[in-house]
Symmetry: C2
Subunit: 201 residues, 2 copies
DNA sequence: AGATGAACTAAGCAACGTATACATTCCACT
DNA sequence: AGTGGAATGTATACGTTGCTTAGTTCATCT
């Protein structure tokens, strides 16, 4: 645990980095528990602070969850970016694998990131931005293949979203443990969908 | 509202069909609100009964949610079954369309149905059964094409799950309103993924 | 008629999210 | 250095939630 997230001194009145400490506690909680079970009071308690203190940094529980979701998208983007840089197999394959790994390692986080949005909330621009950056990684992965470069830009994006949807579907079905764990054939099937230029056997 | 869901008489002590009334109230609540926001107390209140009464029919809130999820899977199965029976275009296309329609019409329900399962809960056999019946509809849709019949059974199922994952991914990305609404190209792209024998222009 | 068990009510507990009022600490200006 | 205001924390309280326990009413069976 980085020192910066601890109170500056044992008896310090001010925490010093409460917002980040709360987010870190939230990340930790999301490793094993669902976002629904995440309690603002318990988070505050775990960092040694009153519940009301959290309201200095978040408008409420929902805004904290939104911050955690944004955090998750940034982490996902990093993971995808790292995956397509180098390694065996094709870039789309590596991207898909990285996506499924991420989803398998943080199921509650992914559920939080992609939960249905309440009707007319237009205030999620930061989330949409991060979403766009993730899409850019899909585009980048597809553009490493020469075939994809031929299509016009909108078609490239369309293919990127299709790829995203495919791996995301596998990730979600895997997370809810439909059909046991899909591990045996999930990965090859997902890879198949990820590479639109080829067909399986 | 069917008469069977109403109390037998105005001053009746016993409700008479409380379990189904609670489920119906839950379905109604899931039309506009998330499962997280669903309150057992408010549900009971809305059907004119004390909260404790619900515990005669469900072990707790979670079991009620599970019953609603099961209900959702049965509804989904019916929708898929009806879709592949007849209509224009191919059966897989119709199935995919029906799936996306269902997801768009009941986003909170779908989120509940496919939420990540808590680790070692083995008591969801009914849910797994309904899941299997939905998968059967995907298999049936794919088997209307002659190409799919050639593969061995495990490969057919693999293709069915791949199709499911593809449309499900689109449904989820659509539900969380990534990229605005994906309507413009979501459907054709999804249809592309659903029909593994063809490729888009 | 009397008993038995299912379905409900009443009352109460701990925990939650949130709002308000107050206390403390830090920063910037003089 | 001293001071005032903003930032950041505490204390407390309100209403709601899930759930438990103990009592009440009803239907049914012998």
């Amino acid at each position: 645990m980085p020192e910066a997230l601890l109170p500056r001194s044992r008896s310090s009145y001010h925490h010093g980095a409460l917002r980040e400490a709360l987010l870190q506690a939230g990340r930790d909680a999301l490793v094993s528990g669902s976002a629904e079970a995440l309690s603002l009071r318990e988070l505050s308690r775990s960092v040694g602070v009153t519940a009301s203190a959290a309201y200095q940094h978040f408008k409420g529980r929902d805004e904290l969850l939104e911050a955690l979701a944004l955090d998750g998208f940034l982490a996902l983007k990093s993971a995808l970016h790292a995956a397509i840089q180098h390694g065996p197999r094709s870039a789309p394959d590596r991207l898909g694998q990285a996506y499924l790994d991420f989803a398998r390692q943080h199921p509650p986080l992914v559920a939080l990131m992609f939960r249905p949005r309440p009707k007319g909330r237009g205030s999620r621009v930061a989330l949409d931005e991060a979403l766009g950056e993730c899409l850019a990684e899909f585009v980048a992965a597809l553009e490493t293949g020469r075939a994809a470069r031929a299509g016009d830009p909108t078609q490239v994006i369309q293919r990127a979203v299709a790829s995203w949807a495919a791996v995301h579907g596998f990730a979600m079905l895997g997370a809810c443990q439909a059909f046991g764990t899909l591990d045996e054939w999930m990965l090859p099937a997902a890879a198949t969908l990820m590479s639109p230029g080829r067909r399986e056997g």
